[in-house]
Structures are given as structure tokens and as C-alpha cells.
């Protein structure tokens, strides 16, 4: 006879146990469903971050100025490798990393933990190292930035650090665009927790780095750097820079700065050689600034194009100072004031202008402001407004003193004269495209702002042509082409004064008239053998211009219908 009381209790206990089981099932399967599912996924899956390749930097003639190569780094952690297996592991690793067994063993003994055994290896080695299935040894995917053209346009392209972060030049300015966004993949792990790549699922889609297409032309860049190197060799200058720009839309066709550096071998170059002189060196423009004084006076109706200017006296007395001219002139027409680069004439024209008029012109031509070219360390130059001027300031500005400008700013200002009075800003990047070559940020023509009446710009350009035909810029002439430009020899400002024997030689000009398609500015810093711009910068301009027009296939001015 079954004890009914005991049976009842057993039944109740079983029922309660069943209830607990059901409750637990509901808790696991329904209430905590997501938590357990993610725990399960955590155990059998792994999320891998895959860095997308950095974008390329291409010139306008589609030469690769900077690109990336996939590489592999092999690491080891001797603490995770059994001591008695060190020799075996070292022997198996030796042929893979290109070292001897004893060398690897020495490194095992030297390091107490994680260290990089070998860097910059072929990615195929990663598979071979993984196949060793050795705990404490593994690989990391890395990327090496390569600059196939060496120092060509080095200061423009810039460089990246060991982590692949842009540090200078376009590499730094467009770091986010070039870098891209990493992708996240979910992969299944095997029994040894290694990823199998059999069930690869994209978790978060990344974006490969976008590539930049520059306005620079590699051939022109080479010509510019070659001629600058020649100028430095001939004049013993400390450095030189040059800008070649299309005045119609501001595209920079070449931007040379010497001494230069190879971004791929940074360690071989002095830190002071790493700056881009064309955008970072602000120097007094000297007489290359005179055309803007003339432009201002003509724009405000204070000077006629055929007016005679008194350039007599061998200089001008301003307040307590006498500013000398380099020669004694009499009455000169405006074009000859520029052609002969008369300081007296330029100062007398400047004195006709009210401070605010002169200030307005200087600002409109972009002096004292960055050009906003895509270079991170561009300087704005030095220009103080009329509130800081002394009695000598207008005279100083007339001959290119009390103001400092970069070659890039000067090229921008000369472009406004060359293109009929429109201010366009220099630019380096034409377009951005993705990995497949599809344009992401296509080329947009630049809309300029008028800073000079068209007739004033035209007359000024003609006057500057006279500088090359009969004035100080004869050495800048290119046979068959109508060239306009202006020389400028300035003392180099140093420690609040002017250093004896330290000069800067400039030549800024354009060709081929009447519709110039090139603006070229050459700046030679501290030439020693001869510092006059007419002998140093103008010939360099002439040589660059002659080779550039040939490479671009620009027809000569004479005899070609406009």
C-alpha cells in the first residue's frame, strides 16, 4: 500500500522542480535571450578590425607621388613560449624572418615580454608564421608609405609617421581623407580560438582612403627643381623656391622648394630642410611690390598710364630719413618707373595714396592673409595695417619693405594682374577619387573676385612687359614669347634690422602676353656670389619659363592669332 501522503509530497516536489526548470528555461530562452546569445557569439566569434589602405597622391599627369604597400610585422613574446621550446621555435622562425637561429635566441633572452622580431616583411610570410601555430609568436598587418619619386615635390607631398599619421604637407592636410575608415568583420573561431575566416561577416563597413589628384605636373616640377638647384649651385644661395601657377584658375603646376627632402628617407635630411619655402618663408618682396603701388594709384584715379613721374634727386627725403635710389633719373613715364625700378618714382606714387587706399589695395591682393592653399604650415606673411604705420611706412611699402610675403602670395597677386584683375586662390588638389577611380569630389572651377579694373590690369601687364624688354628683367626673356614681370632685390630682415650682405632676389612674372597662361615666381634666398635679382632670379625665371612652355606646348606669341 503506497503511502498516499508521501506520494503527494513527492508529486509536489516533482512539480516544484518542474516549475523551477520551466522558469529557468523561460529565463534563459526568453528573458536573458540576448545576453546568452551574445555570450555564445563571444565564445565562437571574434570581431576583427581591418584598416583600410591609405589613399594615393597622384600628380595631374597621373604619376604616383605617394602610395602604400601592405607589409607584415612579426612579433614574439618569450614569456609565452616554453623555455625548452625556444631553440625549436627560433629554428622554425629563422628562415621566415631572415635571421639566424642564434640571433633570434639572443633576442628571446634579451626581451622579457612582447617585442617586434622583424618588420616590413612580405605579407605572404604571415600565413607561414600562422601555420607554425606557436603561442607567443604572431604577425601584425602594417602599411608602408612609399614615395616613388623620392625628393620630387617632397615638401608638397609631406610625410607620415610610423603610425601612418600625416605629419607635413598634403599628407597632413588631407590626413582624414587619405586615411579612410576601418572595417569591422565578424569571423568564426576554431577550437584554438584562432579566426577561421570561413564565416566572414561584415559588421561595420569601412571606407578605403580616398586618393588625391594634384594640379602639379611631375615634368614641370622636375624642371623647376632642377633649375632651382642650378641657381643655388651658381649663386651659393642658402635656398630657393619657385611657383608655377595657372592665373586663370589658380592651379599650381609646380611648387619647388630647395633644399628639399625625400619623405621616404626622412632621417637623412636636416629638420630645417623639411619646410616648404614657397608657403612658409615670409620675406620682404622688394621691388616686386612696386606694381601694386602703381595698380593702387591707377585704380583710384591718382595716376595716369602715360603720366610722367618725377624720379629726380637720387632719392626721397621722408621725415628724418633719406631713401636712396640705385641711380639718378629725371622725369620718367610710369612704365619706365617700373622698367628701371626707380625707388624715388615708386615712393612719390605711393605718397599720392591715402593710407586707407593703399591698405585696401594691399589687402585686396591678399597680402597679410593666407592663400588657403592646402598646406598645413602656410604662413600669412607680415603686414601691419595703417594704425601701426609710421611716417616712413608708405615709402617703405612702395619699395617692398615693412611687408613680408611668401612666393605663393606673390604668385597669387601677380595672377590677378595677369588674368585681367580677378583674384583667384592657388590650389593644389584638383579632385578626390575613391579606390575604384570614381570621382568623389570632382573638379570645381574657381570663381574669382575682381580686385583691379580690367583696363588697369591690362596696362599694368604691358608696363611689366617693358621691364623684361628694356628694363631690369631682360634675363627673364624667352625667345618668341611675350613675358611680363618684375625683379626685386631685398635686404633680408634679421633680428629687428637688416643683416649686412644678406639679400633675397625675386622675379615675379607671367607669359605669354596678351593672355598669359603661366605665372612664375622665383625667390632666391641669400645668394652670395651676386645678389641682384636681375642677375640671379631673372635668369632662373627665364630658364624655367623656356622649358615649361616647351613641355606644355604653348605656342609662341609672335605670329599666332589671339
Amino acid at each position: 500500500m503506497v503511502n498516499s501522503v508521501r506520494l503527494r509530497w513527492i508529486t509536489r516536489a516533482l512539480f516544484a522542480w518542474g516549475c523551477v526548470g520551466v522558469f529557468r528555461l523561460v529565463q534563459v530562452q526568453v528573458i536573458d535571450h540576448r545576453a546568452w546569445e551574445s555570450e555564445s557569439a563571444r565564445q565562437r566569434e571574434r570581431v576583427l578590425e581591418v584598416e583600410e589602405p591609405r589613399g594615393d597622391i597622384l600628380s595631374r599627369d597621373r604619376r604616383l607621388l605617394a602610395g602604400s604597400l601592405e607589409r607584415v610585422t612579426v612579433y614574439a613574446n618569450p614569456r609565452k613560449i616554453p623555455h625548452d621550446a625556444w631553440t625549436t621555435v627560433a629554428a622554425r622562425l629563422a628562415p621566415l624572418v631572415g635571421e639566424t637561429t642564434s640571433e633570434i635566441l639572443a633576442q628571446f633572452r634579451e626581451h622579457d615580454g612582447f617585442f617586434y622580431l622583424a618588420k616590413d616583411l612580405d605579407p605572404q610570410l604571415a600565413d607561414a608564421v600562422t601555420r607554425l601555430r606557436q603561442r607567443g609568436v604572431g604577425t601584425l598587418r602594417t602599411e608602408r608609405r612609399v614615395y616613388p619619386h623620392g625628393s620630387l615635390a617632397g615638401p608638397v607631398v609631406g610625410y607620415v609617421n610610423a603610425d601612418g599619421d600625416g605629419q607635413a604637407g598634403l599628407e597632413a592636410f588631407y590626413d582624414r581623407t587619405l586615411r579612410g575608415v576601418s572595417s569591422l568583420y565578424r569571423v568564426m573561431r576554431d577550437g584554438k580560438t584562432s579566426p577561421t575566416f570561413l564565416d566572414l561577416r561584415l559588421e561595420t563597413e569601412g571606407r578605403p582612403g580616398q586618393s588625391l589628384v594634384l594640379s602639379l605636373d611631375c615634368r614641370l616640377q622636375e624642371v623647376v627643381e632642377q633649375e632651382l638647384a642650378r641657381t643655388i649651385a651658381e649663386t651659393g644661395a642658402k635656398g630657393a623656391s619657385a611657383v608655377v601657377m595657372d592665373p586663370k584658375d589658380g592651379e599650381l603646376l609646380a611648387l619647388g622648394s630647395l633644399p628639399s627632402y625625400d619623405p621616404g628617407h626622412l632621417g637623412q635630411f636636416a629638420p630645417e630642410d623639411r619646410r616648404n619655402r614657397a608657403a612658409e618663408d615670409a620675406l620682404e618682396p622688394g621691388s616686386t611690390f612696386k606694381p601694386f603701388i602703381v595698380a593702387s594709384a591707377m585704380s583710384f584715379g591718382l595716376l595716369g598710364a602715360s603720366e610722367m613721374v618725377d624720379c629726380s634727386g637720387g632719392g626721397v627725403q621722408i621725415a628724418n630719413a633719406f631713401i636712396h635710389d640705385h641711380a639718378r633719373f629725371g622725369l620718367l613715364p610710369v612704365r619706365e618707373v617700373l622698367a628701371k625700378s626707380s625707388n624715388t618714382g615708386a615712393i612719390r606714387i605711393a605718397l599720392r595714396l591715402a593710407p586707407n587706399q593703399l591698405d585696401q589695395t594691399i589687402r585686396e591682393f591678399g597680402f597679410g592673409q593666407p592663400t588657403n592653399v592646402e598646406l598645413p604650415a602656410e604662413t600669412r606673411g607680415i603686414y601691419r595695417g595703417p594704425q601701426s604705420w609710421s611716417a616712413l611706412s608708405r615709402a617703405g611699402l612702395a619699395i617692398g619693405e615693412e611687408i613680408s610675403t611668401t612666393p605663393l602670395q606673390l604668385a597669387q597677386a601677380y595672377a590677378a594682374i595677369a588674368n585681367g584683375g580677378w583674384m583667384v586662390h592657388p590650389r593644389l588638389v584638383l579632385e578626390t577619387h575613391d579606390r575604384s577611380g570614381r570621382s568623389v569630389a570632382p573638379y570645381k572651377p574657381q570663381v574669382g573676385t575682381r580686385v583691379l579694373p580690367a583696363e588697369v590690369a591690362e596696362r599694368l601687364a604691358t608696363m611689366l612687359e617693358a621691364v623684361v624688354e628694356e628694363g631690369t628683367g631682360k634675363a627673364a626673356a624667352v625667345p618668341g614669347y611675350r613675358v611680363g614681370g618684375k625683379t626685386g632685390t631685398a635686404q633680408r630682415a634679421h633680428a629687428g634690422g637688416y643683416g649686412a650682405g644678406r639679400h633675397v632676389a625675386w622675379f615675379a612674372g607671367f607669359l605669354s602676353m596678351p593672355s598669359p597662361s603661366l605665372v612664375i615666381v622665383v625667390c632666391v634666398d641669400e645668394p652670395t656670389s651676386n645678389y641682384w635679382a636681375a642677375d640671379v632670379a631673372a635668369p632662373a625665371f627665364g630658364r624655367i619659363a623656356a622649358r615649361v612652355v616647351t613641355l606644355l606646348g604653348l605656342p609662341p606669341s609672335n605670329g599666332i592669332p589671339a
Binding site: 624642371v223 630647395l258 622649358r547 599666332i560 592669332p561
Partner: protein
């Protein structure tokens, strides 16, 4: 009591065979057939998918390798044909860059215009500032 001469004979009795095992055998066989069909229907494609994934992984690796080689070759070509390298070769061979005076142009009217010849310059030999290549 003993009955003489009588021997009980049960030849009329036929041993009854237990045939239930045949049913079980049939059931097992049927089960095996069903399992085979199920495996063929569900597991085989999965196996095939797995095999294909291995093949895809191998092919992807091969494609990656080829892309890396292509990239290497592209960068090598760039550095070998760099204008800097070509200019150095030009110097070495004693050639001078083409100058405007030596280029003839066609006018819009179709006439060939040759500018006056200008003396050619000497090749540049000195490059003391630039390093790298």
C-alpha cells in the same frame, strides 16, 4: 501410475517463430534510409558550402597576393621612370632639354612657324642640394 507403451508425441506442435525482429529490422532500415535522405538533403549542401568557402578563402588569398605584386610593380615602375631619374640619365648621356627656339608650331591657319633658332645651353651637371634620388 505408469502407462506402458504410450509415448506422448507432439509432432503436431509447430514451433512458433518470433518474427517481431523483422519488423524492428525494417524500422531500423527505414530509419537509416530516412537519415541518409536527410543527410543528403541538408548536410551535403552544407559540406559543399564549407568546401566552397575554403576554396574562396584560398582564391581570395591568391587575388590579394597578385594585387600586392601588381602594386609593387607599379611603385617600382614609378620610381624607375621618375622624371628625376630620367633627367639624371639625360645628363649622363650629355643630352640637353628641348628649348622653345627648336620647336616649330602650326598656326591656326595651318602654317608651320619656326621661331628663330637660339643657342642651346650646356647640360646641367651639378646638383649639390638635392639628395634622395
Amino acid at each position: 501410475m505408469k502407462v506402458g507403451g504410450y509415448r506422448p508425441a507432439n509432432s503436431w506442435l509447430r514451433r512458433q517463430l518470433d518474427t517481431r525482429w523483422q519488423r524492428w529490422l525494417m524500422l531500423c532500415f527505414g530509419g537509416a534510409v530516412v537519415m541518409s535522405v536527410l543527410m543528403t538533403a541538408f548536410i551535403a549542401p552544407r559540406q559543399s558550402t564549407l568546401r566552397m568557402r575554403y576554396e574562396i578563402a584560398q582564391l581570395t588569398r591568391a587575388v590579394d597576393q597578385l594585387e600586392r605584386q601588381q602594386r609593387h610593380l607599379l611603385l617600382d615602375r614609378e620610381s624607375l621612370t621618375s622624371p628625376t631619374v630620367l633627367a639624371a640619365d639625360l645628363d649622363r648621356l650629355g643630352l640637353v632639354p628641348l628649348e622653345p627656339g627648336r620647336v616649330a608650331f602650326l598656326t591656326q591657319a595651318g602654317d608651320l612657324m619656326a621661331p628663330a633658332a637660339t643657342p642651346t645651353s650646356q647640360p646641367v651637371k651639378t646638383r649639390p642640394v638635392r639628395r634622395g634620388h
